[in-house]
Symmetry: D2
Subunit: 433 residues, 4 copies
Amino acid sequence: MIPRYSRPEMTEIWEPATKFKIWYEIEAHACDAMADLGVIPRENAEAVWKAKDVEFDVARIDEIEAVTKHDVIAFLTHLAEIIGHDEARFVHQGMTSSDVLDTTLNVQLVRAADILLADMDRVLAALKKRAMEHKMTVRIGRSHGIHAEPTTMGLTFARFYAEMDRGRQRLINARAEIATGAISGAVGTFANIDPKVEAHVCAKMGLSPEPISTQVIPRDRHAMFFATLGVIASSMENIATEVRHMQRTEVLEAEEFFSKGQKGSSAMPHKRNPVLTENLTGLARLVRMSVTPAMENVTLWHERDISHSSVERAIGPDTTVTLDFALNRLAGMIEKLVIYPDNMLANMNKFRGLVMSQRVLLALTQAGVSREDSYKLVQRNAMKVWEEGKDFQTELLADADVCAALSEDEIKEKFDLGYHTKHVDTIFERVFG
Amino acid sequence: MIPRYSRPEMTEIWEPATKFKIWYEIEAHACDAMADLGVIPRENAEAVWKAKDVEFDVARIDEIEAVTKHDVIAFLTHLAEIIGHDEARFVHQGMTSSDVLDTTLNVQLVRAADILLADMDRVLAALKKRAMEHKMTVRIGRSHGIHAEPTTMGLTFARFYAEMDRGRQRLINARAEIATGAISGAVGTFANIDPKVEAHVCAKMGLSPEPISTQVIPRDRHAMFFATLGVIASSMENIATEVRHMQRTEVLEAEEFFSKGQKGSSAMPHKRNPVLTENLTGLARLVRMSVTPAMENVTLWHERDISHSSVERAIGPDTTVTLDFALNRLAGMIEKLVIYPDNMLANMNKFRGLVMSQRVLLALTQAGVSREDSYKLVQRNAMKVWEEGKDFQTELLADADVCAALSEDEIKEKFDLGYHTKHVDTIFERVFG
Amino acid sequence: MIPRYSRPEMTEIWEPATKFKIWYEIEAHACDAMADLGVIPRENAEAVWKAKDVEFDVARIDEIEAVTKHDVIAFLTHLAEIIGHDEARFVHQGMTSSDVLDTTLNVQLVRAADILLADMDRVLAALKKRAMEHKMTVRIGRSHGIHAEPTTMGLTFARFYAEMDRGRQRLINARAEIATGAISGAVGTFANIDPKVEAHVCAKMGLSPEPISTQVIPRDRHAMFFATLGVIASSMENIATEVRHMQRTEVLEAEEFFSKGQKGSSAMPHKRNPVLTENLTGLARLVRMSVTPAMENVTLWHERDISHSSVERAIGPDTTVTLDFALNRLAGMIEKLVIYPDNMLANMNKFRGLVMSQRVLLALTQAGVSREDSYKLVQRNAMKVWEEGKDFQTELLADADVCAALSEDEIKEKFDLGYHTKHVDTIFERVFG
Amino acid sequence: MIPRYSRPEMTEIWEPATKFKIWYEIEAHACDAMADLGVIPRENAEAVWKAKDVEFDVARIDEIEAVTKHDVIAFLTHLAEIIGHDEARFVHQGMTSSDVLDTTLNVQLVRAADILLADMDRVLAALKKRAMEHKMTVRIGRSHGIHAEPTTMGLTFARFYAEMDRGRQRLINARAEIATGAISGAVGTFANIDPKVEAHVCAKMGLSPEPISTQVIPRDRHAMFFATLGVIASSMENIATEVRHMQRTEVLEAEEFFSKGQKGSSAMPHKRNPVLTENLTGLARLVRMSVTPAMENVTLWHERDISHSSVERAIGPDTTVTLDFALNRLAGMIEKLVIYPDNMLANMNKFRGLVMSQRVLLALTQAGVSREDSYKLVQRNAMKVWEEGKDFQTELLADADVCAALSEDEIKEKFDLGYHTKHVDTIFERVFG
């Protein structure tokens, strides 16, 4: 978790104070359920709620942990200091530390997912707005980095929208996967605690009971969660790469927004670097690197080993904080991206109409010219454009053999951009409904 | 794709003959749709179906490709050889190679997913059967590889069932993600082909139209697909590791099935190696290694570059073939796994009742003995078990201080296994419904 | 291993016939050593060499393996069929299968490394040749894809040379790491075989004896080997990406070589796709994906488990074959890469001298103009270039305030490319010696 | 970087104060070199050293950066505040930010490598000591987790020593790779700065000049560095896994050290969890996860993009800090590991001599019994051991057919452990010299 790539909304989830608050809530709800079951006295359950508005003293808990070498015991000791040792004596009864730790981790991941979903909504809104704005802003489509046929900037935004929207649905699925809790005891048999306690705690914490746990909640859920973040990060990199390409000096179809006062920009007006999207490219790698260890975490020995724990202490916060920051940076970048439609047209016309050569070729064959002859006709005019800098349409109109097959209007029609944008509405309808 | 780790059902999907058959069907259906639209003559569309039952000559296609350096053109040329060059002249009109290639890849991945789903059903059936069979077969639960509290072998099978069932649902989602096709032309604008052609072809091929494509179908779909396979493989490794542990000489709670005739087993009857599950552990790594490149594939330059293609040529077949083989090996292993309930009991009793020390400790405190005294009482008897090989229950019953707090029946009850299995039915109900 | 991305030199190493040949040599040399030690009769050792020139019958060995379920036994049986069962009875005595398998794998990896080193030599030779050729071909250096200061194409080739040369040294190290053999018996104690046998076999096979083996050669060696290939592949991707950028339509500073006859290129002369380097980008991912499983393979249970084996059956051939193919493709691409120096100059001058604004700014401050004033002077001229399409040098020469501080010669000198290339010789000396 | 998995020796390298100190030293040495060259006045170079013992005010630098949005400029401004703006005016002349940043990163990585090398020395010393101590402590060797033949605990330690020693050599190589600096200006051409400045700075900072840089030092060096750490982490996991297996309840051949006072251990004396080695298993995953992004960082656009930077801000500190902590934990764990030789013997004898069945089989055939008959003889006695709990040696001695072929002494000799340990000295000589 690097401060410069963090937002407080997300880091707060992972702070000790938040963690202890969740631990507390789990223990308090568990006491309520045990009191309902008659397992512990009602007044002891009620006593726990005395700490409802207490800010736990993280330093004090650390101090106790330094002695007990056990984080949950340290917390429970501190809780007893607050509500009274006698009142606290039934807290955590029949539970195992993992009941608290694993349920808490999932509460944190669910909250993180909710923030990430809001982030994605911001990204989606920005993409949709820009798509509408540039729905018919024509630019050249490129395959292999080479000019192919015209498309529009709106379609580019729209496909990123569709991709991010898929990511959003995947994240909803991943959130559902991770939204379970377990209060099932040492090896998950409920030997020392009634399943009704689990049901009550989970309901209160916004989780479903894990159908079958061991000492821990199974880690395939977490693997799927981090894998999903990895895919979303990859889509983010896809968008970032498009912008980096558009901003490179020779292309200059778009630029990340530069505030007027930003130093140095006017003495070197060409030197505006796409640093946000380059940064997003790196952040995507950081998010993605959690996927493999999360998958390696799935295999635990028997009812649990603790190999997964250190991994999660790192990737839990780091990955969600990084992706949250990145999605917000991405949204802001899209919202303010400066688009240069004139440069798009200029780029498209770099080879003076040559990108239309395929259409002309097809038209000639459809007009009855043999495929070989059509090819020769296109080629001899294309080479004049390529080698001598001529204009393709002008050359075609001056070529008697071409004009014998196609009328002036027919030739000109081949250079009509409307031909390429005629289904943009259809596609937008498919994407935005 | 390693022959010894392959099943013909899956490899067939990736054979050239299958690929050409799918290409053919896409082209033929596209012609039908174009004829419906009046774009090409009906008789030309009908002529394509003359090749319906033809086995395409892969060697001939390769021969043509060696000249044209283009696989789709080579195929179309061969198709024209079969149905007649004149009849074939409208085939592929307005389409781009990727329309065929990408739609075909997704058809293959969907078929692969269907086989994998059937594989998982076999695994699930095996796990359920063994879970029911050993629902109440008690064995010691272990955390950190160390004896904790009793559980049952049925619960072990049941949790693997639940985990694999989640994997199955994830695969259903991933299959849905990948079940799209695109017939949208050079940069995805439908400039040269009507979207209705795409709709028709997709319907016939069991796919949905990709809402917005460029030259290609977006690769976040494929990344999600391979990430999902990676999670399933990790769950497979989890099961395999459990069996490897159970089979190690000192544990011997289960063994992979050995046929009677298997050489050497009776001269070294102890030397039965869990080679299937060790192999599954390695195969899981092979499946998982496709996840990162699949995610790196998501970023393509503008409307496409071809960097993803070589990756998919490898991981498309390799990953699905390996996982298919592995899931079948897993299912077979589970179906025949030899379970040793007696050894489970012997292992649990390795330290003569010590695993119950926690329950005794709790009972003493609940009987009014102070926590410190309870601890001392348990400790002094536990140490006799640990250091002198005594039996824990016997020692407790002979300890006057313990007996002052707990009756003989109460002490004996602490060693009752039914205490640990009382909620097994509940858990089974949650898992199997 | 995908046929289209394979060269026979490398695939041959991994063919069954090659493997059996190596097995044979190991067994034969081991017999010699055992005869020298008087452990087996000399004539039996000599008899083994009767098969020296035999082409082993792979189908027959497979047939036997189908019965014995053991590949090494199947091979030994077939060997006995050739040299006589009685003569063969001491072959493999005291050895374990892994002695043969692991030593063979390392022989194969060493041979693969030798081919890869030759491949890298070809890449290095090509880079050096092109570096010398374009040592002083000026082009704009770019940071963040944005024009910065001039550099030369020769420096670009030279830095790729230096990077690949580091890769070559790494591969030499990795080859040395993998060049060990072990003939140490069931758990590596030499209980049943004298260490002198290992020494003899290793010397004959071009290996060093593994100082301490278990049943297997330790897998950290292999992890390092594949990690090294992963780094080399990443450097390859670095070169490929540079070329892809240079070839994109708007840049066009280089193009992969297209043979004249290559279809379609003259009707669409702008449409030459960098398919080789895009392919190399994908192949780099394939090579790299072996790194993680190779590292996961390092952990084996006790004296060995067989989890590593399936991974190596895949990544051993696949990774070396893919990298071999890719390095050759890379070398060929570099050798024939078409460079466009005129376009380099045109690109550099896209903003008519603006890339020199930094030098002018510095010169003004050094001439005594305050930093603030210098900045304003540069800015007002730069904006005329940026917004009105003027030429930077012309504007400066026409600016009285600028001319008050700098002479005409001084201004012109700021646009001298020699300023930027003056240390190219020094750098070349450092790289090429 | 997680506090509980961090040691101050390593975290200090990555603190802002350390970073600014290195920046300062680079700038100061560069001024000296420029003064030597007559490029800047000597007194200005000397003035920079006035800040030699200053503790830079990180908060003040952050404050300036909040305005300038540029970390190096913020630092230089703060430096000017200390030494005087006029005195400072030649600092950084002709340099680019990356000259400072990249050279600093490598200084940090070199220092990190030095600490890691010391860590590995501690691990090596511990392994060697324990190897010597248990050189002849016999235990059963296991393949596939199944008893095979005897080996010694000393050999286990010795092989981990050899593996870590290879890791140490790899780290020395990686350190050498990363020990370069670059002071070469905006695109690496030395246009604005003499190469002699680079030479001087590098000499002073303990680095070699990077033979050819662009704006940045090439990232293949860093990829190799992190790949090497990944291999070392994998070896660490290998050791950790061995200990986890040895400690599991049914094996109990070793235990991580538990201090007497450690709560709970005596009431549940069997419940001592191998939490250190489980933790090391997870930490290994964290170290390893940096390998792929480090490799993805190798490809930069043209003379640099900044995608690598965020990745390095994370993995630079996180990976070195985690591995440093882990190696120290590993060393401490090994130093104090409690070994149970008696349990080793008890485990080996779990099947009462059956592990020697192979030797008996071989002896019978060597005594002239046919292979088939030998097998039957061994088998009938082995099955009595396996199924009826008999002792193998006793049964053999009571089997007339066996005794007809082998004398009592010969039979007994087959159970002599010295047979298996006779080459331990040889192996130790190979490992420890």
